[in-house]
């Protein structure tokens, strides 16, 4: 569908909009019912049937303590407290899991932890490093959206159509993260919101991919008018995301003849500084232009000198009202002027369309229920984060040429997500209630099971580790002096605790789009856990001191420490290792400090199991 006029554009919008009322598009399966629990049941039936066919038996359901730790980490970003564990264990069986899921979804922690997830998704790949100073503003905005449970399509539309001061409007975060660069924005828009890595086609066609280089650049053509402008207000510097719908005098359609005719008032064939002042922009830059272009050194510009002025040779897409697809053989040439076309449904807008119209029409086409990739991309991400494995791996590399595991399950969830008008909490509730989510981890002695027949343990995100340490220590106050040394972008104007969290994050955060297999700890992380004031703050004082005073019974004390740190009771083997250690060390406090240190440094503490 090509649209060549503004009226055409309106028609196009009118065609897209009505579909958004939750009608089921063709590509998604029919659901018997669309409420969370029944979709969870449909998902499990599909998986069960597949496991029967493969002749495998999934692992048993996770114990209460494992389940509660898992779901609290996923939905509240921290480990459960000992009191929460006790309460959950003691509650009657019927319906307690769905109940705790609902309860966690209503906490402030739910919105905070997922806002930090999205902050890492966006900023881990930021190409404009100065954008990191607005991370906090973005996160605050995202927290509000999640807290209000705004639908995913509305959040996406906001992120793609934002304008304003990046220090005020959190929704500008995504556009600022790439400095408004059309090619970067095209790549990241497609990767994050559609799970399609079309940026691979930036430079050349891939023989095995459906979408070509042209498609990538047509997507970039929705963004050439996004401008990120630096603004100084006294001491404060900020960046403004805005539309640049007017010509900006450099590159683009700069016509030397016209400029000359307009400015050369005395018609002497020379432009002087005085004449140049007729055009404000040109006047401001005249000194600079003379420096570069005044070949005969007479302090004025002749027509020929103007014509020979060097033009910007790259980044033509930036700051010009239309996008130019670069010529790979001649990177110094302007390239081919390219019309915006959305590669999934071929929706397009004509040259000359205003910035916000361009971006809205793309956002609308992308979030349309007719676009299968939008719902799938979100479902795949959330499922992978919770169940430990995505339908597609890496989670942001889907597309028609990739093969999904259990495609039907993915599409069932996507259909439910569309039918529930992209209700984010609906999706969390559904996934958390599946048996697939609630299975135990596979132990060593069994044959490796296929995807989703067992829980896959995953490494916690920095934010979850931070919250869990705080939980163990009963607050992070002792950590202050050490953590706050961290220097970094985006910490200005933060409160002490926020600053600590940010400094910790610099060490422990990772890009959540990275496949789990590629996520490994680093030496600086291990050094932090081993030697920092934080883990050593647990020594001898506070919690531990009180605990040791309260009981001489090592078995009881050890149980309490295990429940606090690992949210479970110790095994008999662990109890005897610890008891032996207590005997060896002689000093009881020292021995317990060592035990607490060992548990906080353990791989289990850093893992969702």
């Amino acid at each position: 569908m090509k649209v060549t006029s503004l009226t055409g554009l309106l028609v196009l919008l009118a065609m897209i909009l009505p579909v958004k009322s939750g009608e089921k598009p063709e590509f998604l399966p029919q659901l018997t019912s669309t409420d969370a629990l029944s979709v969870a049941e449909q998902v499990d039936s599909l998986l069960d049937a597949s496991f029967v066919e493969q002749g495998v038996t999934p692992t048993a359901p996770a114990h209460d303590e494992d389940f509660l730790r898992r779901v609290t980490l996923d939905l509240a970003g921290r480990i459960p407290t000992p009191a929460e564990l006790t309460r959950f264990r003691q509650a009657g069986e019927a319906g307690k899991r769905p109940l705790v899921i609902d309860k966690l979804l209503e906490t402030d922690e739910y919105a905070a932890t997922w806002a930090s997830y999205w902050r890492e998704v966006i900023y881990s790949r930021a190409t404009e490093s100065r954008s990191r100073r607005s991370q906090g503003i973005f996160q605050k905005w995202m927290t509000e959206q999640l807290s209000e449970n705004r639908p995913w399509d509305e959040i996406t539309i906001d992120l793609l159509t934002a304008t304003g001061d990046t220090q005020v409007e959190g929704s500008t975060g995504f556009l600022f993260a790439h400095g408004g660069d059309p090619a970067e924005l095209a790549g990241e828009t497609s990767r994050i919101f559609l799970g399609i890595q079309i940026q691979c086609a930036n430079c050349h066609d891939h023989p095995y991919d459906q979408w070509k280089r042209q498609d990538f650049h047509e997507l970039a053509a929705f963004f050439p008018r996004v401008r990120v402008r630096s603004q100084k207000d006294g001491d404060k510097r900020t960046f403004i995301v805005e539309s640049a719908d007017k010509e900006r005098g450099r590159g683009g359609n700069f016509d030397p003849q016209r400029v000359f005719k307009f400015l050369d008032r005395d018609r002497d064939g020379k432009l002087t500084a005085e004449e140049a002042q007729r055009n404000k922009q040109f006047g401001k830059r005249f000194a600079r232009v003379i420096e570069i272009g005044d070949k005969d050194g007479d302090g004025a510009l002749s027509q020929a000198e103007i014509k020979n002025l060097p033009m910007p040779q790259q980044g033509q897409g930036r700051g010009t009202p239309e996008y130019f697809m670069p010529d790979l053989d001649n990177p110094s040439e302007p390239g081919t002027k390219t019309e915006p076309v959305f590669f999934v449904d071929e929706a397009s807008v004509p040259f000359g369309t205003k910035d916000l119209d361009r971006r809205s029409s793309l956002a609308d086409a992308m979030t349309s229920p007719e676009n299968p990739w939008f719902a799938r991309a979100f479902v795949n991400r959330v499922w992978a984060e919770m169940v430990g494995q995505g339908f597609y791996t890496p989670i942001d590399d889907m597309g028609p040429e990739r093969v999904a595991q259990q495609q039907e399950v993915l599409d069932t969830l996507a259909a439910g997500f569309v039918a529930n008008a992209y209700d984010i909490k609906w999706l969390f509730r559904t996934i958390a209630n599946t048996r697939a989510y609630q299975r135990s981890v596979q132990t060593e002695d069994e044959e490796p099971l296929p995807a989703f027949a067992a829980m896959t343990p995953t490494r916690l995100r920095g934010d979850q580790i931070y919250n869990s340490i705080a939980q163990v220590l009963g607050g992070m106050t002792d950590a202050g002096p050490n953590l706050a040394q961290g220097k970094g972008m985006g910490m200005r104007g933060m409160s002490g605790p926020e600053r600590q969290r940010a400094a910790f994050g610099q060490l422990f955060n990772y890009d959540p789009s990275t496949p789990q297999a590629d996520i490994v700890g680093s030496i600086p992380q291990a050094l932090f856990m081993m030697n920092s004031q934080v883990t050593n703050a647990a020594s001898g004082k506070g919690q531990l001191k009180r605990l040791l005073k309260s009981t001489d019974n090592d078995s009881l004390a050890l149980k309490a420490i295990y429940v606090r740190v690992l949210s479970r009771k110790p095994t008999d083997a662990e109890l005897s290792i610890c008891q032996e250690h207590i005997t060896d060390v002689e000093d009881r406090t020292e021995a317990y400090e060592n035990i607490l240190w060992s548990l906080m440094n353990s791989s289990e503490f850093l893992t969702k199991r």
Partner: protein
Amino acid sequence: MHVTRHEQVGLTRRGVSRRSFLHAVSAGAVAAGTLSFRDLLSLQAAELRKQGRSMILLWMAGGPSQFETFDPKPDHENGGQTEAIATSVPGIRIANGWEKTAQVMDDIALIRSMTNKEGNHQRATYQIHTGYVPSGSVKHPSFASSIAKQISSEDLDLPAFVSVGQTEGAGFLGVEYEPFVVQSPGEMPRNVAATVTNDRVKQRLGLFSKLEGEFAERGGRDIVESQRQLYNKTANLVLSEQTKAFDISEEPDELKAAYGDTEFGRGCLLARRLVETGVSFVEVRKQGWDTHEDLYDRVSNLSAEVDPAYATLITDLKQRGLLEKTVVVWMGEFGRTPKITPRGGRNHYPRAFNLALAGGGIKGGQIIGSTTDDGSAVEDRPVSVPDLLCSLCHSLDVNPRHEHISPLGRPMKIVDGGEVVSELFA
């Protein structure tokens, strides 16, 4: 090179084992009891062959202009106002602002005919750091990590790859070859010093590794194994005397002044100390070369910091007899456009750019390749990124076609394609 005698601490499932006699063997292999005495001897011999080879990468992030560094064009309008100065080698002229580097030109080989296709910072940086263009599906190990894996000595307690500033990681090569990132060069990195006595550290590590076994059996085997490797490496670092290398305070003031009291100067001095201690690969980053505007002011500030540090590094390595085994690379991700823009800057230009090499068997005092008078194209002897990496492998005595196997079973050469630039080596 000084080698300190030290005690290696290995974490085993039964606790900590102390060995001060087996220097050349990985803690894991010994712990597993898989190596015979004969194996140990041959391993040691293999280590000796490669001993002491290392690389220092001085990374000019943002893409330095060739016209304002080592390929000035004072006779062409594209050359702008930059002048060419004489060097210690007759016939070789470089840009003004690099007066100290000019004095050590006998040790430097310039490549003026680098050519590449990636004009985006991240892609080009990734490509030159890994040898592969970025792809959505594979995270390639960095070249530095591959090199560290090939040549690092088991004697070393420090990480084999240290970077001043963030850089590309080890990918599937694992924790052991991840870059150890230093943020403030010259100071002891944070948390390296233990807060309790070394005996207590060992006591804790012993308990820790026994307790880890339980989670391994309950389905966390891979995670536990990766944590064990990490803690092995980290414990060796914490307990080692070699960490003194990070602290430059004991260096003579005169030498510190020669490197320059700047972040980059301290980074270069740190690089020398690390290489001297046996670190295989050190990267030192200098940001700010993305000169889309205010070219001359910005480059002159940059060269004022980089020139003395770079020249002093070469002199210092040479005086200590380290230059022969240490290849020093000065480069960025691409060059800059021949034409100066109306904003007084130069844009990205991968088609023709330059770099400088020294040490590691490189024959100094020569120029490889050239560009056309206007600087827009390579005139002769084009050198590609794989050619460069193959040449570096040659200097480091590493086979560029050595294959690492990715977790999915896909073999991946350290360098795919390219040939050694033989003129570089005497």
